[in-house]
Amino acid sequence: MAISSTETASPAGSPGPGGFLLNLAIALVIMVAGIVFAVLCAVAVFAALNTVLPDIKLVQAMLVMVLGVAACFGYFWGSNRLLDVIYPPRGSRVAENINAANGIRPWLFLGPAVVILGIYLVYPVINSIVLSFHGPSGETWVGGANYAWLAKDAAFRESMRNNILWLIVVPAAATFFGLIAAALTDRIGWGNVAKSLIFMPMAISFVGASVIWKFIYDYRAEGSDQIGILNAIVTFFGAEPQAWITIPFWNNFFLMVILIWIQTGFAMVILSAALRGIPEETIEAAIIDGASPFQIFYKIKVPQIWGTIAVVWTTITILVLKVFDIVLAMTNGQWGSQVLANYMFDWMFRGLDFGRASTIALVIMAMVTPIMVWNIREARKDMK
């Protein structure tokens, strides 16, 4: 990747670790000044306008949006001005001033993002680890008791089993259907329309999708007309209607269908782009050698997009680990369909045990970590 090294960013701008820390310290001071100033201004304007504007939530939201954007601009503009005042890019020490300012400026640009990321993502990870050694309210130290409880807990074991099922089935099925859809839609005239329609469930919330599919799985006692299409089909062929989402073990698969339905479009879009990126020559050569369309697809095209397939697969895997809305809305973990994310939510809201809930969250984190490491390595390879 391109690195912007200009004459102004010479090593003189960052003389050793001491200079770096000094830069950070100055940046911090300017940043705090800038943020405090911007936020105070925004709050003052908000308070002033709020007395005039009607008390409607949506109006306030718009106001917050405008003021938030204004405060951001105010901060970035103000902090840059402040930096230019401290190190004026003119006068007798112009070269040193520009170098010093260039050492500090990146931190002013990064400042708000780093602070927010620190509070909302980094601190919680550390805090969760600490909480997992504490009791329900997070105050008393209990050592490894939460982990010991987890190891023996039957519901946790059920969640783990179901999560592993989800991890195997959903990424595989979504990638498979996505690949098929991508390969087929690229060959027909109305392919783009078809793609849009298959892609559409991506825009639907998990809860919305749950309602849609609960309607499909709807069950009426035998004899009355079925209004769920699945039972209608089943009874049409003479079988007995089933209450699908209450059948232990198999109900997991009926819930997985929902996520596969949502994610296939994502896989399709990305794999379709990858398929189009395959060099034409390899395909032409295969055609000249007399390969059939299926041979071309499986032996020429698919091997060339393994990298993209892996990316799609891991992205969906991460999503699966976090899935919670579907289980909550469809069964709330009843009938043997519990998963980790919903189990964690259960202990947090109904069990009111922050220690145990944090421990379950850490298990999810541990399962994500290998993918995280792999992603970072891939990203670093790309940037070199």
Binding site: M1, S4, T6, F20, K57, V64, V69, F76, N80, N102, G103, R105, L110, P112, L117, Y120, L121, P124, N127, S128, F177, A181, L184, R187, A194, S196, I198, P201, A203, I204, S205, F206, V207, G208, S210, V211, I212, K214, F215, D225, Q226, I227, I229, I270, A273, I283, P293, W306, G307, F324, A329, M344, F345, L362, I364, M365, N375, E378, R380, M383
Partner: protein, 378 residues
């Protein structure tokens, strides 16, 4: 792709039919709830949505006017009325006991107790004729099998929007979504510029950290932030959820925008630097306008994610009537109105219609963002 393979007619047929099947499988579930939400709630409860265009059979019980209302006509006491009482339909048969609601064909005379006869016509008009003056009492029960024409209505939507609180939730969702979509963009854009075009120690480390934070499960953040909010005094408020969504959206925003900005032509930025522009000016006047496609991509991602989110809203906004968002309301209705499909289908459609419209209108940017975030060298 126009390879010679695509020109084989048999294969082309197979491909077309397969795609039609796929598209049907992926759209019919949504179409089903759209159709259902527009149907009459009595019809929805007894027949599948795929029969919405056909007439539906229905058994109903009507009660005739009390006998003392009968009027003397041609030497007999006659009572008339209509079994549908303002509704519509076509009677296929009628009876006088619940066991056999179609014992008599339309137009036949049924013998009633007390020397009387009952006739029901196809349009629902009934006539009860008494030989003598009838004793006062309750009206005769008439059991009718009828065929109703398909009925479509917007009553379900009126009901959920104004009585079930969905209208209020819609406003709440908008209130959460608008600032939570726009505010992260600027913060991320400056950070992305620094990571793409500025030189400073620790840059590689920060980039790696952001790629790592992309996949940190939200579940990790809930409890620590909830405790933090309670300590600071933000509690369950819109401010809290705006900030939370900003925080959770930032890694993706920075990642997408940095990748895009790093790909911008180096010469533009270099020549601006030579002309004496500061980084701040370069960003505002050159990078920001050029990055519009990436900004739009992220805005759509964030919009869809915030609009459709249930977890963050449940934890940081709470479940009280005043603050419940659409997804939360839908989940609550699933619990409390599990069998009332006219309410559930209409509510679900209200909840998904805005993201679907945004999706179709801005699909181009969404796809571009997905590709920028995911496709790496094969």
């Amino acid at each position: 792709m126009s390879t010679p393979v695509g020109s084989r007619p048999a294969l082309a047929w197979v491909v077309n039919i397969s795609v039609i099947l796929l598209v049907a499988l992926w759209t019919l579930p949504t179409f089903g709830i759209l159709v259902s939400s527009l149907r009459d709630k009595d019809q929805l409860a007894v027949s599948g949505w795929w029969t919405a265009l056909t007439s539906s059979e229905r058994n109903l019980v009507a009660r005739a006017a009390p006998p003392e209302n009968a009027t003397l006509e041609g030497g007999r006491y006659v009572l008339t009325g209509n079994v549908f009482e303002g509704g519509s339909g076509e009677v296929t048969g009628f009876g006088i006991s619940s066991r056999d609601p179609s014992a008599f064909a339309v137009g036949e005379e049924a013998e009633l107790r007390g020397d009387a006869t009952l006739t029901v016509e196809a349009n629902g008009d009934y006539t009860i004729a008494y030989a003598g003056e009838p004793e006062p009492g309750r009206g005769q029960r008439i059991f009718v099998s009828s065929v109703e024409p398909p009925k479509f209505t917007t009553a379900n939507y009126e009901n959920v929007l104004f009585s079930e609180g969905l209208g209020k939730s819609f406003i709440n969702t908008m209130t959460v979504t608008i600032p939570a979509t726009v505010i992260p963009i600027l913060i991320a854009a400056y950070a992305a510029y620094a990571l793409a075009w500025m030189e400073f120690p620790g840059r590689a480390l920060l980039l790696a950290a952001i790629v790592g934070l992309l996949v940190v499960p939200l579940q990790m953040s809930l409890i620590p932030l909830l405790r933090l909010y309670n300590t600071v005094g933000i509690g369950k408020s819109f401010i809290g959820i705006w900030l939370a969504h900003t925080g959770f959206g930032l890694p993706l925003a920075i990642y997408l925008l940095r990748n895009y900005m790093a790909g911008l032509p180096r010469e533009i930025i270099e020549s601006a630097r030579v002309d004496g522009a500061s980084d701040f000016e370069i960003f505002r006047k050159i990078i920001l306008p050029l990055s519009f496609p990436a900004l739009a991509s992220f805005a759509i991602f964030q919009f869809l994610w915030v609009w459709n989110d249930l977890l963050v809203a449940t934890v940081f906004l709470g479940n009280n009537e005043e603050q419940l968002v659409l997804t939360g309301r839908l989940r609550e209705l699933l619990g409390s109105r599990g069998g009332n499909w006219e309410i559930l289908t209409a509510s679900a459609f209200v909840a998904i219609v805005v993201p679907i419209l945004v999706f179709f209108a801005m699909q181009r940017y969404l796809v571009r963002g997905l590709l920028a975030g995911s496709v790496k060298g094969g």
